[in-house]
Each structure stands twice: as structure tokens, then as C-alpha cells.
């Protein structure tokens, strides 16, 4: 009897193990090839070069990195790229994030028109970014200047065709379409705050702004930190929709690192330009990864409830 029970248990264990591996096997294989191998290959590629004539790879040492360092100081696209990437990140941190929080609080408090504004703020996430960009291009170049000129008697030209106004216009567009998911998440987090806490604050005579800053913000700091950290991850991959606006022809003063990299890969006709881009990718990771780790530690300190 004992023997039969053991046999049954063994059979059951074997079946469970097989089932378990069937569940994780395909995803694990994909992870090994498309994550581990891809990143390992990225390391290898960064120290190699490709000979177009003989279609062969050869060892190139750290010359790709040397060449990149040279480009950082001499190539305007990369110089502006780094500068603009940081500007875009700062703007999202200083303008988009606080505005998103203020909007979310307005919606969470169910003030006038909250439901409609919630849908409107989420709409840019539903519509394809490149569709919005096409509309925005004509809107900023043909519609807005005419309306402003008619109203205020100014002599403005297209915002995306004038060098001085191009970058600010692109930043404003990215702020405009950047609220959707974050506002929804913040609203969800705010709705999760205990009513008794808010009622107690009200009895203590706090006004709306005090309630927002002193009660609500500390309670949702975990959700906010997720978006701050995600923002750092996108620091050097954010294209600011430049590819949709200008295709491959953006002026160098508009470049971001993300646009530079995407454009180089997209325009590559052979493997020859890949190694340098792989080296750039590694350098980006080396900058961003420690930043993320520091920010996560900071976020844990600010929010002891976070696991």
C-alpha cells in the first residue's frame, strides 16, 4: 500500500514538474535568446567592427568607445542630443509630473467636469502618437500662428518651421500628450487613501492645497516614484516624437540621444554602423542603471511602506 502511494506521488511530482516546465519553458527560452544573448551580444559587438567588403566581423578593441567620445565633443547631433535629453527629462519632472498630480487630485476630488477631463487627458494615449504628430505639425504651422496673429495682431510664423520655436513647440506637444496613464494611476492611488484620514484633516481645518501637499502626496509617494523612475529609464531613449515629426531630417539642434540612436539603426544599410551604436547603448546603460538604483533607494527611504 505504502509502495503504491509512493509510486502515485512520484508520478504526480513528475507530472507537476513537466507541467511547470511547459509553463515557464517557452518564456525562459525567449528570455535567454532575446534578453541574455542580445545583451551579451551587445557587449561583444561594442568591441568589434564589421567589414562591408568581406562581410566579416573583426576585433576592434575599444575604438568604438574612443570614436564615441570623440563624437560627443565634435558631433553637434550628440552634443545637442545629450543636452536635449536632459532638458526633456527635466521638463517632464518639473512640469508634467506636478501638473499631472494636480490634475489627478482635481479628478479624485470629483470637481466640476472631472469625468470628462479624465477621458480627455487619456485620449492622447489612445490615438497613435504619429497621427497626433501629423495633426500637430499642421496645427502648429498653419492653424495656431494664424489664430494668434488674428487675435493679437502679431506676425508669427509656423512654430515647427522656425528654428527658435521648434524645440519649445516639441516640448509643449510632448507635455500635452504625456498625462494620460500617469494621471489615471495617481487618481487611482488618491482614491485609495482612507477617508477617515481626509476627514480628520478636514476637521483640523486644512485647506485643499494643504490637504494635497501634506496628506495626499505622502500617501501616494510610491506611485509617484514609479513614474519618476520610469522617466529616468527613458532619459536617453526618449525620441520626443522627432522621428514622427521630421523623419530622418531633424536639425541637429533638435536631436535627443534616443532619436540619434533610432535614426542611425533605422537608416543602416549594413551591420557596419551597429557596433558604435552598441557601444553607445552600453554607455547609456552605465549611466542610467546607477541612477535608477540610487533613485530606487531614495524612493524606499521616502516611502518605508514600499517593499
Amino acid at each position: 500500500m505504502e509502495f503504491i502511494r509512493k509510486e502515485k506521488k512520484k508520478k504526480g511530482n513528475w507530472r507537476n514538474t513537466l507541467f511547470f516546465w511547459c509553463l515557464i519553458g517557452p518564456a525562459l527560452l525567449q528570455f535567454v535568446v532575446m534578453y541574455l544573448f542580445v545583451n551579451f551580444n551587445s557587449l561583444i559587438m561594442s568591441v568589434r567592427a564589421y567589414d562591408i567588403e568581406s562581410n566579416t566581423w573583426y576585433f576592434y578593441g575599444f575604438k568604438n568607445f574612443e570614436s564615441l567620445f570623440y563624437d560627443f565633443s565634435h558631433l553637434p547631433e550628440l552634443r545637442y542630443g545629450i543636452q536635449n535629453s536632459f532638458i526633456a527629462w527635466s521638463v517632464s519632472l518639473v512640469i508634467t509630473l506636478p501638473l499631472g498630480l494636480l490634475f489627478a487630485y482635481y479628478i479624485a476630488k470629483k470637481f466640476f467636469g472631472a469625468g470628462v477631463f479624465r477621458v480627455l487627458l487619456f485620449l492622447p494615449q489612445i490615438i497613435s502618437a504619429n497621427i497626433l504628430v501629423i495633426i500637430f505639425k499642421y496645427y502648429a504651422d498653419a492653424f495656431l500662428p494664424t489664430v494668434i496673429n488674428d487675435l493679437f495682431g502679431t506676425k508669427l510664423f509656423g512654430f515647427l518651421s522656425q528654428k527658435d520655436s521648434q524645440f519649445p513647440a516639441i516640448l509643449i506637444f510632448n507635455i500635452y500628450i504625456g498625462f494620460g496613464t500617469s494621471v489615471l494611476m495617481y487618481t487611482g492611488a488618491m482614491n485609495g487613501i482612507s477617508k477617515s484620514v481626509l476627514e480628520a484633516a478636514e476637521l483640523d481645518g486644512t485647506n485643499t492645497l494643504q490637504e494635497f501637499i501634506l496628506i495626499v502626496l505622502p500617501q501616494i509617494i510610491g506611485t509617484v516614484s514609479v513614474f519618476v523612475i520610469t522617466g529616468v529609464t527613458a532619459l536617453f531613449t526618449n525620441q520626443l516624437n522627432l522621428y514622427s515629426i521630421y523623419h530622418k531630417n531633424a536639425d541637429s539642434h533638435l536631436y535627443t540621444v534616443g532619436y540619434y540612436m533610432y535614426r542611425e539603426i533605422q537608416s543602416a544599410s549594413s551591420y557596419a554602423s551597429y557596433p558604435k551604436m552598441a557601444a553607445l547603448g552600453i554607455m547609456i546603460t552605465l549611466v542610467v542603471a546607477p541612477l535608477i538604483i540610487c533613485m530606487r533607494r531614495l524612493s524606499k527611504k521616502l516611502n518605508p511602506l514600499e517593499d
Binding site: F19, F20, W21, I24, P26, A27, L28, Q30, V33, M34, Y35, V38, N39, N41, S42, M45, Y106, K109, F111, F112, G113, V116, F117, R118, L120, L121, F122, L123, Q125, I126, I127, S128, A129, I131, I134, I135, Y138, Y139, F143, M185, A189, N191, N207, T208, I220, V226, T233, F236, Y243, Y262, I265, Q266, S273, Y274, A278, G281, M283, T285, I292, R296
Partner: protein, 293 residues
């Protein structure tokens, strides 16, 4: 007291409400601008991009776009028309969203149901690692691997490329599956149900709302995505890629602004319809930390 309560937040309402009204007005003017100008003839747009058209070309322009919008990756590549592009986008969005949802669900289920297996902890750690430690800029290497494996320019490869579990949805599904009482599973197993049957007929239907919401969010994101198809499968028909190349075209009988704006509205409509139908599910399901069941 009531007046005091009413007054509370009045200034906040006025200031933030005004900002939101400005936001809404800009959105409304964007739609007004797009629709009105999509109904003009090219000369009408050049003359006046603000006012209503002197003569409406609604049917003519939209019919032209539906019949003549095409996509061609290069001179030798086949020409695809709007129905091919819609089908291509549908396939890409279904396969990609399906890949993510299936992989994430399978791994999350395995980790929850077999906590004693060492690999469960390993998979959980890997998911956390991918989510928290960013490795960016592996695009060149990824391209080389994709070309090497024969995935380049293949629509079906979207499923394999997106068959990933290292994403935020892993955590949501992990928590959702973990929250299902064990009694259901144990009762089914006493009745002789296999592991597969328990998973497909008992456990996963209980988290179908979470799975459905993740699929919907991902479907919309991939339908709108042009950068991945453009770089990994440039010759596969795709409406986002097609409209983008059309937007940059300067040659041809329809390479004018009113047609381009009409194309934008034509592309926007299906996804807006999906949004309107699933609006409550979608907006209601996204809450703190992501999605609730």
C-alpha cells in the same frame, strides 16, 4: 458649515479647472482643425487653414483616401492598400499583445502555483531584474539577432519577440492569481481534474478581467506603435507605418494636406471606437499600481 465646505477648494477648482478647460479647448480645436481641413481641397487649405471650407469635399476626400492610400517599403516591394494595412496592424497588435499576455500569465501562474520549485523563485527574480535594472540601447544587437534568426520582416515574429514576462503586468497577474482561494483548485483536483484543466477552466477564468484589461491596453499600444514595425518588419503592411510614410510624401496626386488629415481621421476611427466601447472597463480597470480585477 455647508457654505464653508462648498467654498473649500474653490480657488483650486478655479485655477486647475481653468487649466483643464484650456487643455480641453486645445483638444477640441485639434479635432476641429483636422476634420474641417480634411474636407477642403488643397487650395482651400493653403488659402485658409482656420475657417470652414467654402465648398465641402467630405465624401470626395475620404473616398480618395480609402481607395488610394498605399504603402510600399521600397521600389521592389509590393504595394499594399488600406485594407492590407488594417489587417497587418490588426495581426501585429493581436500577436504582440497576445505574446505578452500569454507569456506573462503562464509564468505568473507557474510561480504562484509551484512556490516550492526553485525555478519559481528564479523566474520571479528575473522578472524583477528586468523591471528594475534597465538595460537600454541593445537595439543594434537585437537587430542582428533578429536578422540572424530569420525573424526580420516576418509578421508572426511579433508573437515571439513580445513573448516576454519581464514587465509590470507580471506583478499584477502574480498578485491576482495569488489572491484566488486555494479551495477551488483543491476541490477540482479531488474530482480528478488535471493541472491544465484546473488552470484553464478554474483558475484563469477567475482573473479574466485582469488578463482582458492587460490585453486591451497592450492591443491599443501595439496598434499605435510604428517604431517597432518600421525597424523590425518594414515590408509588412501596417497602418501606422503607412500613414507616417504618406505624411512625408510630397509626390503623387494625393500628397496634399487635406488628404493627409483625412487619412489621420480614418486611422483614428477604429481605435476610438474600441476606446468608446471599452472606455469604462479600460479607465475603470487602471488603478493604483496598474490594474484591478
Amino acid at each position: 458649515m455647508a457654505t464653508k465646505m462648498k467654498k473649500k477648494g474653490l480657488y483650486y477648482q478655479i485655477v486647475i479647472g481653468a487649466l483643464l478647460v484650456v487643455y480641453a479647448l486645445i483638444m477640441a480645436s485639434l479635432f476641429y482643425f483636422t476634420f474641417v481641413n480634411s474636407c477642403k481641397d488643397p487650395w482651400g487649405f493653403i488659402q485658409d487653414a482656420v475657417g470652414l471650407p467654402e465648398q465641402w469635399f467630405f465624401l470626395e476626400n475620404y473616398e480618395t483616401i480609402i481607395l488610394k492610400l498605399k504603402m510600399q517599403a521600397n521600389v521592389k516591394a509590393p504595394i499594399y492598400y488600406i485594407e492590407d494595412m488594417f489587417l497587418g496592424s490588426l495581426g501585429y497588435a493581436m500577436l504582440s499583445a497576445g505574446g505578452i499576455v500569454i507569456a506573462t500569465t503562464m509564468v505568473a501562474y507557474a510561480c504562484v502555483q509551484f512556490p516550492n520549485f526553485k525555478m519559481s523563485s528564479v523566474m520571479y527574480f528575473l522578472a524583477m531584474f528586468v523591471i528594475t535594472v534597465p538595460i537600454v540601447g541593445s537595439l543594434p544587437s537585437e537587430m542582428q539577432v533578429i536578422r540572424g534568426l530569420g525573424f526580420y520582416n516576418q509578421l508572426w515574429s511579433a508573437f515571439i519577440l513580445k513573448f516576454t514576462f519581464g514587465n509590470i503586468y507580471f506583478l499584477l497577474l502574480y498578485e491576482a492569481i495569488k489572491g484566488i482561494p486555494k479551495d477551488y483548485k483543491e476541490a477540482a483536483q479531488v474530482d480528478g481534474a488535471s493541472q491544465l484543466r484546473v488552470m484553464l477552466q478554474i483558475m484563469l477564468p477567475m482573473v479574466k478581467n485582469v488578463i482582458g484589461s492587460i490585453f486591451l491596453i497592450q492591443f491599443i499600444a501595439f496598434w499605435n506603435d510604428y517604431s517597432t514595425p518600421l525597424i523590425y518588419m518594414p515590408s509588412v503592411p501596417n497602418i501606422s507605418v503607412g500613414v507616417m510614410s504618406f505624411a512625408f510624401s510630397t509626390k503623387g496626386e494625393i500628397a496634399y494636406e487635406p488628404y493627409k488629415l483625412a487619412a489621420c481621421l480614418v486611422v483614428m476611427l477604429p481605435i476610438l471606437a474600441v476606446f468608446i466601447v471599452f472606455q469604462k472597463t479600460l479607465l475603470g480597470s487602471i488603478s493604483e499600481g496598474g490594474i484591478k480585477g
